[in-house]
Amino acid sequence: MPHVLRMTDGTTTINLTTTGVLLRHYVPQEAKRVVGTIADYEDVAEPIELLLEGSGGSTTAMQTLHSQIKAMLYAAELRAETGRGPRVYIQYQPSNDPINWRSELRGGAVDLADNAMTVYGQAKMAIRLTITRSGVWEAASEIELPLASVTSTSPATGGKPIQNHYVASTAGNFVTIAHTAVGGVIPTPPRIVLQNASGGTLVFRNIYLGCEQYANGATNYCNMVQGEADQAPSPGSDVSNPAASGGTMLEIEFTGQSSPRWHYSVAAVRAAAGRTFRLLVRFNFYSLVPGNVVWVQPALNELSGAFDLNPYVPRRALEALSVVQLVDVGTVSFGDYPLSAGMATVLRLFSQAEVTVDIDYIQPLPADNFRRLEYVGVGVPNNHHIIDDGIEGRAYQVDGSSQEIPVVSPKGNPILLYPGKVNRLYVLSDLGATAPIDNDLNARVYYRPRRLTVGG
């Protein structure tokens, strides 16, 4: 199979390697990564040399093709500058490559070759395209990834059920993608489809997404821990509550400061070396005392120590007017110690008045692969969908007529899937003040493998 090179806006496709066009030269160049990003790459400008041939010796057909190329490059430029119109891609499938790759065009110029007019009368014209395109190549077709979840452990496409908390074997707030599933070379954003499977309409406020990469079969810091799994000398007592994950939570009554702590194993801490995690904490309840503020500040301690190794995080105030159950309390950063001992995650709680704080669970999520979807719509009926399309850079709700409703405001960078790794995608949601543990969803994940060069 010869190389195939095309330009397309999804409706019109200009084939640059078949009848009427002879591809004389094209070598995709590798882009540079944008400093400070994980997988953003600078645009690439590179030449494509073509010989246009009018069908049946027709100069008109040759001119038409020339004009079509110019028009598509103009459309690409306009799209890049203003966001108007469809995206325009260059597609490239080298000989024997099973994947047709695409890269979004940002614009370009068409110049006639030095001797282009010499054979013009024979309906032949040599041209040189100088295109500017996205720095990455991705598959032209989306691929649905097989997923496994806690309650449906066999990897498969078609959707997997997830719950709004984790209890071993019975409920899980994540789907796992096998290390062999994600292809390509560089991290790639997925299209995440979340279907309301709760049985009723959910008026979300926030949907938190985080994706962690695991060495195959290993545990790490991202595992959700139950509040009642705290370790001595942690304060408080375990209290039963059917609305809490696992039916139990940690209840603490205090004035001044209280520091419940949870121990993490050597394996979990070493997997976190040099990295930063956000902590989402589900507070089943906390006292609201007029004029008082309950503050929470995450800390890292030695297993038997009290010195805060994470003192750069500001305190977070728990809501003053009503109890908000699911709270992003800030980050913890681990030092770069790959042979680290186990450590304790501590929630330092502060209050000048006597209060009660109920901690249901803590869910750490990787800070460099974290995204919040803020929902501003009127509700997602049962079986309807919320889509976070990191590929296209859009998020929306889909109604019963498959129409997109732009009531989902994505915050933060798109989630990234890493090729060759176990990718575990966590999802937590709240309805504003409450974060019921039975906000059940069904998750599907689609992606396009990405690479920096094609044919290399």
Binding site: T82, G83, P311, A317, G330, T331, D336, V376, G412, N413
Partner: protein, 658 residues
């Protein structure tokens, strides 16, 4: 990569139109408020950039690459830049609530005042906050002119103010200039009526306190003179006086109309001759020290000892009357004592000294009723009066705060005394009585200030109190009852409450935080109490900064930070031993593990160690650690680009700029 998001003041999401690229440029943190300033640049489709004007007055939050918020505040200016021109909107000069102060001459008198507040309701509803200004007219203006000026100001500046200028950038962009939430406290004046009750003297007058004496050497002389042979009236003030202990019906309360301030005279009889039946003769013409109405006492003569009153005076010849006739005599050892007198408004019967008479000036105690305004009570921390002394009293001056009892001072709520040594002699100065700040004054309740001396009355060592004769209310104790002073007057006083400075900050935030700063959290009580009254002439921001500058009673500084939840946190500076950040000579800022600080983190309000400075030098010259007061982060270069440690001069100070 840094990003920014926008929200309404009620925390609703304001997504930026698709296709626009939001790039925070820099931001600054300070120990005075936390996030204080930032610039955010937005580029993209020029036709869509104009939609960003709607972000004026809205919340902006800057996130680092971990989607951790690193700065937050309010968009104060939106500037749309094209290649040749910039246009935008600004809140800087917007005023949606204002009043105008005026001054003018009326019948030769200077009249000052202020108009009522007026506001642009539409602007307040649009933005959700009030931005106030009290304008002062530079030229003379009547109230009518001032009101016209006020209304014109609201018409011109009541909404966001358009701004424009040349220049711009080649690429169409919008610059969002942002201020921290703390800065919005400079949008409202802080008016706090609690904690002050005052009466100033418009027409000042002195009132003596604790003046009087008892003596057997007081005589009366018809029609109006009361004398004391020892000169005890010499420093007597005027006013009402009560006489008791007389034998001839002279017990009464009357008014002193004049005071004889001559010195007491002891006249040697060797200089003169007694001649029958009523004459004293002096060939040296020195008898003019005696005046008509004087009571005198002759002692140590052979025939003329006793009390004599002068009926006619002259330098060479005095005619006197006594219990009997003058007998002729030349006495070389005798003496004639002449004291001083007061004239009173009543007619008195002539009465020879001898009875044990008590003379009491009204004002043994002085009382003034008062009540506080408003609807909230407060506790008394200090009372300021204008006081002085005559001579040097041997007792103390006592001020009682009393409840009311049928219009007069009742039970004593608290008493404070001060030493006479603290008072100026023969003049009035402001003096402060420090109260415990525990006695609560309630609105619509009458209280009394009552002044008295802790010892006995005295004729030359007593106290002076300033009154205001332009109003009434003061009562004087005559020895047995309270009397309204004649002429009426009021005590000049200033009663102040006090509250802890950090508690006051809470009150200021509650009053002026508007929808921007929802509440405050005081994590370090200052332990310093000051008067909480504010007359509304200063912005809330300035009031808070002034209170913070006082620090705590233990000498610690205070740090203010408005959190992302819009709560003003007030906390004490960390101890100098709490060093969690190091600064290297390569402008690296390192954490505990020696790693670069998290991107975008500014360690403002912390002690920064400079470990390359030798420790002895660092300690001796206080070069390390240093307390970071302010710092600025460059989001493009991703580094801390400027900072200021405590004690280091600002660039503007060095350049001599305001």
């Amino acid at each position: 990569m840094f990003t920014a998001e926008f929200r309404t003041l009620s925390n609703a999401d304001l997504p930026v139109v698709d296709g626009l690229k939001v790039e925070p440029q820099w931001y600054r943190w300070s120990t005075r408020g936390g996030p204080v300033a930032a610039d955010i640049k937005v580029t993209g489709d020029p036709t869509r950039l104009w939609s960003l004007l709607a972000l004026l007055g809205r919340r902006a939050v800057i996130f680092n690459s971990h989607y951790t918020p690193v700065w937050w505040g309010i968009v104060e200016e939106v500037l749309v830049s094209r290649p040749t021109r910039q246009d935008g909107l600004s809140l800087k000069k917007m005023i949606n609530r204002t009043k105008v102060a005026y001054v003018y001459e009326q019948l030769g008198e200077t009249v000052t005042g202020e108009t009522d507040w007026a506001e642009n309701a539409e602007s307040i509803a649009r933005f959700g906050f009030i931005k106030e200004s009290i304008e002062t007219q530079e030229i003379e203006a009547t109230p009518e002119l001032a009101e016209a000026k006020r209304d014109l100001l609201l018409a011109e500046q009541g909404r966001a103010v358009p701004i424009s200028g040349p220049g711009g950038q080649a690429e169409a962009s919008v610059l969002l200039k942002c201020i921290g939430d703390f800065s919005t406290l400079a949008w409202r004046y802080y008016d706090q009526p609690i904690g002050l009750a005052t009466h100033e003297a418009d027409e000042g007058a002195e009132q003596a306190l604790g003046v009087g004496f008892t003596s057997s050497r007081v005589g009366h002389f018809t029609p109006d003179k009361i004398s004391d042979l020892d000169g005890k009236f010499r420093k007597f003030p005027t006013g009402r006086v009560t006489i008791s202990g007389t034998n001839f019906g002279n017990n009464r309360s009357t008014t002193i109309t004049a005071v004889d301030s001559r010195k007491v005279v002891d006249f040697p009889t060797a200089k003169m001759a007694f001649e029958a039946n009523d004459d004293w003769i002096d060939s040296d013409d020195e008898l003019d020290v005696f005046a008509v109405g004087d009571w005198t006492q002759v002692t140590d003569t052979n025939n003329n000892n006793g009390f004599w009153r002068v009926r006619r005076s002259g330098a060479d010849h005095v005619i006197v009357r006594g219990a009997g006739p003058v007998l002729g005599e030349i006495s070389h050892v005798g003496n004639i004592r002449r004291g001083t007198f007061i004239s009173v408004s009543d007619t008195v019967a002539t009465e020879e000294p001898g009875a044990n008479i008590t003379v009491t000036l009204h004002g043994q105690r002085i009382a003034q009723a008062f009540s506080i305004t408003g609807t909230t009570g407060w506790t008394v921390a200090k009372i300021e009066l204008r006081l002085g002394r005559m001579g040097m009293p041997s007792d103390e001056l006592q001020l009682d705060l009393c409840a009311d009892s049928s219009g007069s001072p009742g039970s004593v709520l608290e008493s404070v005394t001060i030493s006479p040594a603290l008072l100026a002699e023969e003049r009035l100065e402001n003096e402060i009585f420090a109260f415990s700040n525990t006695i609560a004054l309630n609105p619509a309740t009458t209280y009394h200030l009552r002044l008295s001396r802790t010892g006995s009355n005295n004729h030359e060592n007593f106290y002076l109190v300033e009154l205001d004769q332009a109003s009434g209310g003061v009562q004087l104790w005559d020895g047995t009852a309270w009397q309204v002073r004649d002429p009426v007057a009021s005590l000049a006083y200033r009663i102040e409450g006090a509250a802890e400075t950090t508690e006051q900050i809470q009150g200021i935030v509650a009053a002026c935080g508007q929808s921007v700063i929802s509440k405050s959290s005081i994590e370090a009580s200052s332990g310093i109490e000051t008067n909480q009254y504010r007359d509304g002439s200063m912005f809330a921001y300035d009031e808070i900064v002034a209170l913070m500058d006082a620090g705590t009673v233990s000498g610690d500084g205070l740090i203010a930070e408005v959190t992302i939840e819009n709560i003003l946190r007030i906390r004490a500076e960390p101890p100098i031993t709490a060093i969690t950040v190091q600064q290297t000579d390569g402008e690296q800022w390192l954490d505990l593990q020696g790693r670069p600080l998290p991107k975008g983190y500014l360690p403002v309000g912390q002690w920064i160690g400079c470990d390359d400075i030798p420790s002895a030098v660092a300690e001796l010259y206080r070069m390390s650690p240093k307390f970071l007061m302010e710092a600025e982060y460059d989001c493009q270069a991703m580094r801390i680009r400027s900072y200021s440690f405590r004690g280091e001069p600002e660039v503007d100070d060095i350049l001599g700029l305001d």
